[in-house]
């Protein structure tokens, strides 16, 4: 494939992607073709000496690809695009002009890790951001996931709920649903531990459900006892932990001590 062809495809992709509403299917086809072209020019995984403007174009194609995969809700594909982009963001950061899409994409990656509950990876990624730690909060794309994580860890779930509309970029909203699912499960497990019983109406507000039906369905999923007449949910208490002395374990441990002591003496 000639370079000119690649350039036309690239321009096509750009216009299709930015047009409102974007034709996602056409974008996908164009991306597939472009990726083949990039591989042929050795730009997908840049090696050796390559032209910097070519690299910038390749980066932009991959960035569009990343956004496209989120719009089509294809998370594994986003993952792939992101790892390809990492080369550009980390190794060529000094050579290439900074991309305006870099931080939105990095932020999206953070949110993705958050929704998949990969907190350790989230923090590792956060540490490796090329920003000084105290300026993280001033970058809207990064501070959003950071705040979300903090609220999740604290338990301020209502703040997470309220923040879902404040996403700094359109694509962030695609993660909201799965994030809400995660939160709901968290809240539910907290409620099970913290309450003996709860009126259905209050449970609905706590779990951010709009109607009683949704609550009832959810209660069924979690196996809660619903008392319809009193309109309350009763949580089955897990039986008090039996404080039994684990004899076997203690005996083996003591025997081991005896053996070791014998060796010392």
């Amino acid at each position: 494939m000639a370079t000119t062809e690649l350039a036309t495809l690239y321009n096509q992709l750009k216009t299709t992607f930015t047009s409102q509403p974007a034709d996602l299917k056409a974008c996908g086809e164009l991306l597939a073709k472009l990726k083949v072209g990039l591989i042929q020019h050795g730009l997908l995984v840049p090696q050796g000496d390559v032209d910097l403007s070519d690299l910038a174009v390749a980066r932009e194609i991959l960035e569009i690809g990343a956004f496209w995969s989120i719009r089509t809700r294809d998370i594994p594909s986003f993952d792939r695009y992101f790892s390809q982009l990492q080369t550009y963001y980390n190794d060529y950061s000094s050579a290439l002009p900074p991309s305006p899409r870099e931080y939105p994409i990095r932020g999206l990656n953070l949110i993705r890790l958050l929704t998949q509950n990969r907190i350790a990876d989230f923090h590792t990624t956060l540490e490796s951001l090329p920003l000084p730690a105290d300026s993280l909060a001033s970058n809207p794309y990064i501070s959003h996931p950071i705040n979300l994580e903090r609220w999740l860890m604290e338990g301020s779930y209502s703040k997470v709920w309220n923040a879902r509309e404040e996403a700094p970029a359109e694509e962030y909203k695609f993660f909201v649903d799965s994030l809400m699912g995660t939160i709901r499960n968290e809240i539910a497990s907290c409620e099970e531990a913290a309450y003996n019983s709860l009126p259905i109406k209050d449970a609905a507000t706590l779990l951010f459900f709009r109607s009683q039906q949704e609550v009832l369905k959810y209660a069924q999923e979690r196996g809660w006892q619903v008392d319809l007449t009193g309109a309350t949910i009763t949580f089955a208490k897990k039986g008090e932990e039996k404080s039994e002395i684990p004899k076997d374990k203690l005996i083996t441990v003591n025997l081991q001590y005896a053996r070791e002591l014998e060796m010392i003496v």
Binding site: S156, S158, Y257
Partner: protein, 512 residues
């Protein structure tokens, strides 16, 4: 062992260590002059190579840190002259590396005023070339000297690269301990010239070779170099992978172990694996040299370990904040600890912003930010201990939370996480605190068990680590042999005397 680990101090925080070290240097009595010392070191290395006993080389390297501060071109030139015969090619090549600018002037004066140090020890100048290890050792010294001045960094770099090539071409096992030190110099050269990342491929290749050759010292040194390199650029992922793919040689020296554990602790802390991080940092503290020898390392480890302990929900010992070496360096951390202990969010926030620059420099800022939830948890815990029933409104006010709604979720989470015992009454809007758990149960025995396990392990390890000098029992055997002989002699004498007296006795008897 104390001197080998001066390096971590230099590696980490120069400014902290400087004044103390200088102070320490002064009262020291002037031992043999530097050229003399280098010459005797060269002899020791020679001996190490010929007797295949790495102990001597290690002894030489132990003096490295102290020696390093007293180096200059004059003494180096003198030392090289002393070690190599004048016709030697190595001598000439080594000499070319020495910066000439100050040497010319001082050299002449020196020969005039102080001829005695060169002449007095004068070992019989043999015309044999010393072993190549000596050359590498001298190169190492020159590199250190070149690195002490900004203008010669590029020269140091050149020399370092040449030395590495030479080292790899020679491929001698007896050189390993020195090679490990050379790698440190390589790293330092790259760091000072500003492109630490460039050194990575070199280190990786050398690490591979070292592990193939079972060169433990070099391998340990290189793994640490690489880890430090990755962490310098915050590449925790890569560092973690390196740790996974390599095994740190068990036989490596304590200082290397201390560093390795410190790096591991950093990685684990970032990955939220606090208990592992804590264990590693403990190891690093235990393996590190005394605080006064390497204060920089000591401080760095303690900073991290304080944060990790807080993240684990423990409060660090008050004593460490009073430690002479740590007191000043840890002030910011001390205030954070106070804020966490009292569970006051506002105090925590103000402390965080006050010391932000310091935390940022220590690379602990993001870790400390994570403490926020711990502050809240401690706050809730304190409340639950002092009240049997408290309204959510009051919790909200006392902990400076934004809304009652938040408070309800937060308390709910605390109950689920087992921070407090109790339940919320939603209709009445209060938290009913449960009875406190008694401190006696199976958990206690488990903690006890862990401690005993640790002590036993320590004992076994120390038994394993005991060293017996070769052939030392021979001496004892000889002594025993001699004693036996003496005893027999004595017996014989006694026998003779006794015999004599027996002989005499009848005589005596006769006389009677």
């Amino acid at each position: 062992m104390s001197d080998v680990t001066m390096k971590p101090a230099d590696e980490k925080k120069k400014e902290d260590t400087k004044p103390e070290e200088e102070k320490k240097e002064e009262p020291k009595k002037e031992p043999p002059t530097v050229p003399q010392e280098i010459r005797s070191n060269a002899l020791l290395i020679d001996r190490a190579v010929s007797t295949l006993e790495p102990r001597f080389t290690l002894r030489v390297l132990r003096t490295l840190a102290a020696l390093r501060k007293r180096l200059n071109s004059k003494v180096l030139a003198e030392a090289i002259e002393g070690v190599y015969p004048s016709s030697s090619q190595v001598r000439q090549s080594l000499m070319t590396w020495l910066p000439t600018r100050d040497s010319e002037a001082t050299m002449e004066i020196d020969t005039a005023t102080a001829p005695q140090p060169t002449s007095t020890p004068s070992p019989p100048r043999q015309n044999i070339e010393p072993v190549p290890e000596v050359e590498i050792y001298l190169r190492l010294l020159i590199v250190y000297h070149l690195l002490s001045d900004k203008s010669t960094y590029s020269k140091a770099m050149e020399l370092v690269q040449q030395t590495v090539q030479k080292m790899q071409a020679l491929n001698r096992r007896s050189m390993d301990p020195i090679a490990a030190k050379v790698w440190y110099a390589v790293e330092r050269a790259y760091e000072l010239t500003g492109d630490l990342a460039e050194a990575r491929p070199l280190f990786l290749a050398a690490q591979r070779t070292a592990s193939l050759r079972h060169d433990d010292e070099t391998q340990a040194s290189l793994i640490n170099r690489l880890l430090r390199n990755y962490l310098h650029y915050n590449l925790y992922d890569q560092a973690d992978k390196l740790v996974l793919k390599t095994t740190f040689p068990v036989s490596a020296g304590n200082p290397q172990h201390a560093r390795y554990h410190y790096f591991l602790g950093r990685i684990r802390a970032v990955q939220l694996n606090y208990s592992a991080a804590h264990a590693n940092l403990q190891q690093a503290i235990r393996r590190a040299p005394p605080a006064t020898t390497a204060p920089g390392f000591y401080q760095a480890v303690h900073k991290l370990s304080v944060v990790v302990e807080l993240l684990m929900g423990d409060i660090p010992d008050r004593g460490i904040f009073r430690h002479a070496v740590l007191e000043k360096a840890l002030t910011g951390y001390f205030e954070i600890v106070k804020a966490v202990r009292t569970g006051s969010l506002s105090q925590f926030q103000s402390t965080l912003s006050k010391h932000a620059a310091q935390f940022e420099a220590d690379k602990t800022y993001t870790l400390i930010v994570r403490l926020r939830q711990n502050v809240i948890k401690t706050g809730i815990r304190r409340l639950s201990l002092s009240y049997s029933r408290i309204s959510l409104r009051d919790i909200c006010v006392k902990l400076h939370l934004d809304s009652e709604e938040d408070a309800e979720y937060i308390v709910g989470k605390a109950i689920r996480d087992g921070v407090i015992d109790g339940h919320i009454s939603h209709e009445r809007g209060w938290l009913e605190c449960g009875a406190q758990k008694s401190g006696y149960g199976f958990e206690v025995s488990e903690v006890f068990m862990r401690r005993i396990q640790y002590c036993l392990e320590l004992h076994n390890e120390s038994v394993k680590a005991m060293r017996y000098p070769l052939n030392a029992h021979r001496k004892e055997l000889d002594a025993a042999e001699a004693a036996r002989q003496r005893e027999q002699e004595l017996l014989r004498q006694v026998g003779e005397d006794g015999g004599g007296s027996f002989d005499d006795e009848p005589g005596l008897g006769e006389g009677f």
